[in-house]
């Protein structure tokens, strides 16, 4: 029995938990900051984009691992 698809699915699914939580925290804090100080949207924007990109990168690593499992292994 070939377990590779299961491994790929697990890699992606488990790997998405952490970035999901991280993105949720990042977005909620950014919205909180915007709610307190709407004029700061320009100052928040760049660090916010960088932060969510770096949180998302972990999910992308999981995706790459599962893609390698599907296509390369």
């Amino acid at each position: 029995m070939d377990l590779t698809p299961l491994a790929a699915g697990l890699a992606m699914g488990l790997g998405a938990i952490g970035p999901g939580i991280g993105l949720g925290i990042a977005v909620s804090k950014a919205m909180e900051a915007l709610g307190r100080n709407p004029e700061a949207s320009g100052a928040i924007f760049v660090p916010y984009i960088l932060g969510i990109a770096l949180a998302e990168a972990i999910g992308i690593y999981a995706l790459v691992v599962s893609l390698i499992l599907i296509f390369a292994a």
Partner: protein, 275 residues
């Protein structure tokens, strides 16, 4: 039928150079950029036409961001950041056009008949994203050497503060520098490729109406990833040149600073304490 190959498919070869369909995608993006830039600058006026406003808007927008965070030397690296942004944006959005990835010829591959598209989104090929990441990597090292001198750059990179921590910190520092290369390229590749797979899956499941929503999602992702790639390049360049500047400490900290070796290094600027 769901079919997205992880590697770009070769179309034809000129001598030793094999031309793949993602190279065609990158080439088309470059040609679009060149033609638009040539056309707009040829008839540029002080009071801009509508076309000129369209082209100038992203340039001004990114330039303002770079100016806001880049310190006194922002003009030297703003062109790099803007070029990366516009190029990746065009390349990403090009992949969403109808016909890209769907028009091609049929060929035998691993015993099955598959469709080989003529044009493929450039970002869905690791070679393209890795090439861009190498450009960014060389650029921030070059800017670091230009700003701090070769000696200053090597001292910063290879000698930790305090000096007796060097054997532990230097390998960590080198790995963290190299991980930027990998994370930059993998992030763009993963996003664009995942987008292609997502669109192909949705198209196979529900061919009508539903894929439109995901196309909209991919428009946003393409934009965000272009922005992320260029802003990360900007941040790396700022970190590389601002290490020994008095007021040059960027407001952004190193976003990749999961390694403990980095934090004390940046604050070790000799004149930095005076500020």
């Amino acid at each position: 039928m769901l079919n997205v190959e992880i590697a770009a498919e070769p179309l034809f070869s000129i001598g030793p150079l094999t031309v793949t369909n993602s190279m065609v995608g990158a080439l088309v993006a470059s040609v679009i950029l060149l033609v638009v830039a040539w056309y707009v600058t040829r008839r540029a006026t002080l009071v801009p036409s509508r076309m000129q406003v369209l082209v100038e808007f992203p340039i001004e927008w990114i330039a303002n961001i770079v100016q806001g965070t880049g310190g006194s030397r922002w003009r030297s690296f703003a062109p790099l950041v803007i070029t990366i942004f516009i190029f990746v944006l065009i390349a990403n959005w090009l992949g969403l056009l109808p016909g890209v990835g769907t028009i091609g010829y049929h060929a035998e591959h691993h015993g099955e008949e598959v469709l080989i598209p003529f044009v493929r989104a450039a970002g869905a090929d690791l070679n393209f994203t890795l090439g861009l990441a190498i450009v960014s990597f060389i650029a921030f090292i070059a800017f670091g050497i230009k700003a701090n001198g070769l000696g200053g750059y090597l001292k910063h990179t290879f000698i930790a503060n305090p000096p007796y921590m060097t054997p532990i910190m230097t390998p960590i520092h080198i790995i963290s520098e190299l991980s930027r290369l990998i994370s930059l390229s993998m992030r763009l590749f993963g996003n664009v490729f995942a987008g292609e797979v997502l669109l192909a899956t949705m198209l196979a499941l529900v061919p009508l109406v539903v894929p439109i929503a995901f196309l909209g999602l991919e428009l946003v992702f393409g934009f965000v990833q272009a922005l992320v790639f260029s802003l990360l390049t900007m941040t790396y360049v700022i970190l590389a040149i601002a290490e020994n500047e008095e007021h040059g400490r960027p407001e952004l900290d190193d976003p990749d600073h999961d390694s403990p070796g980095e934090a004390p290094d940046h604050r070790a600027a000799p004149q930095g304490t005076a500020a």
